[in-house]
């Protein structure tokens, strides 16, 4: 597109061109299935969520506590040292208000995704949702508290925490 180039190629279609068969297409449903191994750190993390606890791993060299936990410290590049049982409360580092679902379709009840810094860590946060609050009332730095599923409904998943709600003052 330099001035020397006169022609740009590319044939733009509308959705209907394909749907109504004006141009040919091939549809395919892939079979892409997995059995991901959680490993040492995430395995324990999920097991502890089932117990209603959030755990992190601490590195003695830099003193950081990491959550979600990993068995190594990425900054010191060494195996880290111990499990730390953390509080299930924290502070809103950032948040947003979502009116769309994962597949980009519209939802009526907005979700409030947030990065929540877990108390007792040095800035380590987790992605989760905020609930039981009017989206307009959520603030940066707001203190929040995990709301857990009842023990019998927990499966060892990040969803064992239903959401975080504003902490009582």
């Amino acid at each position: 597109m330099g001035v020397r180039i006169k022609e740009f190629r590319g044939t733009s279609l509308r959705e209907e061109d394909i749907r109504q068969g004006r141009v040919l297409s091939v549809s395919y449903r892939p079979k892409a299935q997995y059995l991901w191994s959680a490993g040492v750190a995430i395995g324990r993390y999920l097991a502890e969520l089932k117990n209603g606890r959030i755990v992190g791993r601490q590195c003695d060299k830099c003193g950081r506590t990491a959550v979600p936990p990993r068995m190594f410290c990425e900054w010191c590049f060494r195996p880290n040292d111990r499990w730390i049982i953390l509080k299930d409360s924290g502070m809103v580092n950032t948040f947003s208000v979502s009116y769309i679902a994962a597949d980009a379709t519209r939802i009526t009840e907005p979700l409030i995704p947030a990065v929540i810094q877990i108390d007792g860590t040095t800035g380590a946060g987790m992605l989760h949702l905020i609930g039981q609050v009017d989206p307009k009332k959520v603030e940066f730095g707001m203190r929040v508290q995990a709301i857990w599923k009842p023990p019998q409904e927990r499966t060892g998943s990040i969803l064992d925490i239903k959401y975080f709600k504003p902490a009582e003052r």
């Binding site: 141009v23 297409s25 191994s37 040292d81």
Partner: protein, 165 residues
């Protein structure tokens, strides 16, 4: 090396099942559109010639991969050719055993320099070897949808079949 601790009981092993949850709809492209339309409408197989490389590509393409020239010289091919290589396949794409094994061959159509990969049916195993003459069997017009599978399969040519009997 390694970590301060590891999993020591199989009971503590955790895994998660999941998938990549998407579907696809592929347009057949500029060259594919003309090629597959011709299969569908007229049961004819088109190739495209690169005069520089002396190649006749089938399926046709908008360009020659070897010299990178744009191709425009469409040619009509016969539906007869010969087997370049073959294999007998026992499983489907999802890993299940096929009821009947399927013969798959690379078929070089007369006048083409590239070779289709397609099914061979209606054949005696002993007739299938490198060099066997084969011909395309098309689906009925009403069943053709503009797909590569509008060619239902290849089978040994009439001469091979009559000699075989």
């Amino acid at each position: 090396m390694g970590f301060a601790e590891k999993i020591q009981s199989p009971k503590d092993i955790t895994h998660l099942e999941g998938e990549i949850p998407v579907n696809y709809l592929y347009t057949v492209g500029i060259a594919g559109e003309r090629f597959l339309r011709e299969l569908k409408e007229n049961a004819k197989i088109l190739g495209i010639r690169c005069s520089r490389c002396r190649l006749v590509h089938v399926p046709p393409r908008t360009y020659c991969e070897q010299c990178f020239e744009r191709l425009r010289d469409w040619v009509e091919l016969t539906s007869e050719g010969r087997i370049e290589t073959f294999t007998i396949c026992y499983f489907s794409a999802d890993g299940n055993r096929l009821a009947e094994p399927e013969i798959i061959a690379a078929v070089k159509l007369n006048g083409a320099t590239s070779a289709f990969v397609h099914r061979i049916r209606d054949a005696n195993d002993r007739d299938i070897h490198i060099g066997t003459d084969v011909e395309a069997v098309f689906k009925e017009k009403g069943d053709r949808v503009g797909s590569f599978l509008d060619i239902a399969y290849f089978r040994p040519s009439r001469r091979v079949r009559s000699e075989s009997h």
